[in-house]
Amino acid sequence: MAKKPISFMLNGRKVETLVEPRELLIHVIREQLNQTGSHIGCETSHCGACTVDLNGRSVKSCTVLAVQAEGGTVLTVEGLPKNGTLHPLQEAFTQEHGLQCGYCTPGMLVRAYRFLQENPNPTEEQIRFGMSGNLCRCTGYMNIVKAVQSAAKKMQAAGGK
């Protein structure tokens, strides 16, 4: 099958590559563009480990075709730090012990990043609902919820974003 040239913004950088129409976004990001932060956990869009931000929305990149990202904007965990400083969510996940094996963490962070844009001042229940597309086997979620809460507070104090 002939490969198509595609191009999109990945973590603020324009990337161009050749893909088969059937290639999944997660594979292209990880294997062709070498951004291995996003992981593959289930391949059936249940676990959320492959969550990336596509055009300002959280999506599961195991169930998006790379060609669908053509001309779009993609953010992965590698794009979270702003000019050298970690995102408040990244700090908070460490502070609150919101990760153990670290495998689900990039998907959690990228989802939480978008969730806090959608709802900057969430209750615990809203966080649990908003993060329900991401599975974690290690933490039991309590510390992840705490981390999202404390990041939200920090970001509010700093005037959002």
Binding site: R22, E43, T44, S45, L65, V67, R111
Partner: protein, 289 residues
């Protein structure tokens, strides 16, 4: 979990999509949210030669009000339904149900049109469409036709939609103030299909139930409209005894398939229980409680 090869088409207009559909016929599949089709292709059960991606057809997106009717583009995502002020005010049953579908990420991709046209009795919108008495705009090379939701769902994965047609728009009447509504869905966990679910929309005239529509999800080969259950309550002052009768009528039309969610008996009882709860909640809302 790798799909087979296919040619990818990303039309920007409905006409172009219809043309492609006509050109490739059985070889073609339409891609909306993709969260059912792509996994099926990854397992190599579905191997379409041509994939027609509707995500770039702007004309299929958006929610607007026109002459007392709300028009919802078929490619409007679940999260867009949830976010819609218009729907929350004028047809709150739709966003209420959308919140119970899949998970946040999937709701960013999943579309109301895909959910309906798929004709899967496990999907939630078919029952919601029956409960809101919606109608569907179907467009093919022969032009456009508008069909009511009631009668659109013929069997599992079988609908009125013809092979060369695309579902372009969903139309629902905006509900009068004081309309009660509820969607009660029992599921094993976030992201699961309903073990059983019931949708209710009702209007009161003083104390009596002027009008009520009840529809069931995943209780048979298609979404089911529980007409006799509704008849039990119409024109009456709804009380627990009548609700119980309605629930029994609803259970009587159930024909669910057994799976790991439960056997036929459990699913039928749950359809009844969701019906009771949906009626009660809709009633309470209609009474402004």
């Amino acid at each position: 979990m790798i799909p087979g090869t296919f040619e990818y088409h990303a039309p920007s207009t409905v006409d172009e999509a219809i043309r492609l559909l006509g050109e490739y016929r059985d070889e073609a599949k339409l891609l909306a949210g993709g969260h059912s089709l792509l996994p099926m292709m990854k397992l190599r059960f579905a191997e379409p030669g041509h994939l027609i991606d509707l995500n770039r057809v702007q004309a299929l997106k958006g929610i607007r009000e026109q002459g007392g009717m709300i028009h919802i583009g078929a490619m409007t995502t679940e999260n867009e339904l949830i976010a819609s002020e218009l729907l929350r005010k004028k047809c709150p049953l739709i966003p209420e149900a959308a919140r119970l579908i899949a998970d946040p990420q999937v709701r960013n991709c999943g579309t109301i049109g895909g959910d309906i046209a798929h004709g899967d009795p496990g999907n939630d919108h078919p029952a919601i469409m029956l409960a809101t008495e919606a109608s569907f705009v179907l467009r093919g090379r022969g032009g456009e036709r508008v069909v009511p939701a009631d009668g659109f769902f013929l069997g599992t994965y079988s609908t009125e939609l013809k092979a060369d047609e695309i579902l372009t728009e969903i139309r629902v009447a905006s509900v009068p103030a004081g309309t009660g509504y509820a969607y009660c869905k029992l599921k094993r966990k976030t992201g699961d299909f309903a073990t059983a679910a019931a949708a209710v929309q009702l209007q009161l005239d003083g104390k009596t139930c002027k009008k009520i529509v009840i529809a069931l999800t995943n209780a048979g080969p298609t979404a089911l409209k529980a007409k006799e259950a509704a008849a039990v309550l119409t024109g009456k002052t709804v009380d627990d005894k009548l609700i119980e009768q309605a629930a029994q009528k609803a259970m009587a039309i159930c024909d669910p398939a057994e799976d790991l969610r439960g056997d036929r008996e459990y699913k039928t009882h749950m359809a009844g229980e969701m019906t009771r709860r949906a009626i009660r909640q809709a009633l309470a809302r209609a009474q402004g409680k």
